[in-house]
């Protein structure tokens, strides 16, 4: 329908002074490009400014931090702020805890969500689709609705102030979001592969392990990256379940430190920078997985 109209109109335009129209078109594009580019640069500067200010503050002396003048380059450059920051809080303990929880969650999520997604995406069994709808509906529940009974459950199990409440759910399905994502992906795998394997006597688990998993590397990488980001970021979970200092994660530790009296602003900024740095590194290494993952969920969602 569209094609015919376009061809007709293009032919007409070409006949009626297409030359001039082409020039006008190119001129408009140039203006647009220049305006667009300027806007991009200005907005980028605006977006990066808070980062720059944080790093700048983290290297300032107290006098400069609290002064009323806006200075960007600290002088002197107080690298010692970072050393002080690391000793002011049990930084390495918090770091180790964050890493532990994150690593465990990634492992748990990858294995359990792929297993479950495999069941929903590659296997045929009665009740499968109804159960999947249930899974989707569960995603719509705000966490606050289940938060309290789950907390009480963990209380009774004696798991408060351990990592278990943060990690065990990752092993039990890994979250409906990831099951959904992986299931959509598994469904795109060609059926013939599985049929051929089945004819060759491959078990269901064998097909999962040797066919589905290896072929889903991009989707699995996305799950890894998202889990990493979510767990490193997680605040409410640790806030509710982690009480003693030796167990706190970086997110919680940073917040706890900030509400202490006498917490130095420069040190706070330094810790923030240190907390963001690992994520930035992961992001730059795995950039396309972030973007691909979001696109996958946004378009299929």
């Amino acid at each position: 329908m569209m094609g015919g109209a376009v061809n007709g109109r293009r032919a007409a335009a070409r006949l009626l002074g297409g030359g001039r129209a082409t020039e006008a078109r190119e001129r408009v594009s140039l203006t647009r490009a220049v305006v667009g580019y300027t806007l991009l640069i200005v907005l980028s500067a605006v977006f990066l400014t808070p980062f720059a200010w944080t790093v700048s503050t983290s290297l300032k002396s107290d006098a400069q931090v609290y002064s009323l003048d806006v200075t960007w380059i600290p002088s002197p450059v107080m690298w010692s702020n970072y050393a002080e920051a690391i000793t002011a809080i049990p930084f390495f303990t918090y770091l180790r805890n964050s890493v532990t929880v994150t690593a465990l969650c990634i492992v748990g999520t990858v294995f359990s969500s792929t297993l479950v997604a495999y069941a929903f995406g590659c296997l045929e069994w009665p009740g499968r689709d109804a159960l999947f709808v249930l899974l989707l509906a569960g995603m719509m529940l705000p966490p606050q609705v289940t938060m309290i009974p789950v907390f009480i459950l963990f209380c009774r199990l004696g798991w408060v102030d351990t990592f278990a409440p943060l990690v065990v759910p990752a092993f039990l399905g890994g979250g409906a979001f990831f099951v959904f994502l992986l299931r959509q992906f598994f469904k795109t795998l060609p059926k013939d592969l599985f049929d051929a394997a089945r004819i060759d006597g491959c078990s269901a688990f064998g097909m999962y392990w040797r066919i589905a998993l290896p072929l889903s590397r991009p989707a699995v990488m996305t799950v890894v990256i998202f889990t990493l980001n979510m767990t490193w970021n997680d605040f409410l979970g640790p806030l509710v379940y982690l009480n003693s200092d030796s167990k706190k994660t970086l997110a919680l530790g940073l917040q706890a430190f900030s509400s202490e009296t006498g917490a130095e602003q420069a040190e706070l900024m330094a810790i923030s920078v240190l907390m963001v740095l690992p994520l930035l590194i992961v992001f730059f290494l795995g950039q396309r997985y972030f973007v691909e993952g979001i696109t996958l969920t946004g378009m299929k969602g």
Partner: protein, 297 residues
Amino acid sequence: MTTSERRHLRNGLLFALPYLIGVAAFVVYPLVMSVYYSFCRYNIISSPVWIGLDNYRELFFNDPVFLKAVYNTLYYTAFAVPLGLAFSIGLAMLLNLRTPGVAVFRTVFFLPSIVPMVASAMLWLWVLNPESGLVNGLLRQVAGIDGPGWLADEHWSKPSLVLMSLWGLGTAMVIFLAGLSDVPQALYEVARIDGAGPWRTFRHVTLPMLTPTILFNLVMGLIGAFQYFTQVYVMTGGRGGPVDSTMFYALYLYRNSFYYLRMGYACAMAWMLFVLIFVCTAAVFASSRRWVYYHGE
């Protein structure tokens, strides 16, 4: 059931077992208990005591903080979500110009959304500091005016939070970018040949084709805004800002559960939140039939 059907069922259930246990333990059981608790007075230490509709009655008729929390949350949602949508579409359109180095810009815009919320809350708390913060400092130096109290001022605290939320738009922007790339070039050609300027092209070609993506981001934005918690907690030390001006719904819920140990009351709040989210989402979906255009279906 035939043997092979039974085998398939067994396999299916076996593979889905982690999820089945998870959903039973962390979704179904808590859901049921949460409904029960909402009709009780429960402080963990002693057993729940059935009090019928008292929690709900108190919420709506006897709790000014609750009403403030609802107001604050609705205020934030009403501003943050539409502004967020407009801004992220704008950013996506800018990136869609495909100027040289666009990947760098995309990264810059996306970066803030992966910063942990705690860190970004600390960051912005300092940027918006009324005395030594960046914003007021610049206002003083460049424009010679005394900036407002931002988060420390009860009239500016929510607008500050709305402003902050615009920084973390990366995710929505990326989704819009993907949606924009789905718009067929042919449509742009036709619009150009028909003499449409940039605004009319946007209004009559780009926007309609983007409506499915807008719907998705709108719903996700609404759900996120109603549950807004971490930044508020970090920035106000869990207190809800100057004169309760940033006492958001999720924060008040949290305080009722873990500060005041009013578990039953908090459960009632949680269910009201669910109802609110459900009603809004359903309304959006119902209206979507009128303004969303699903091309390619």
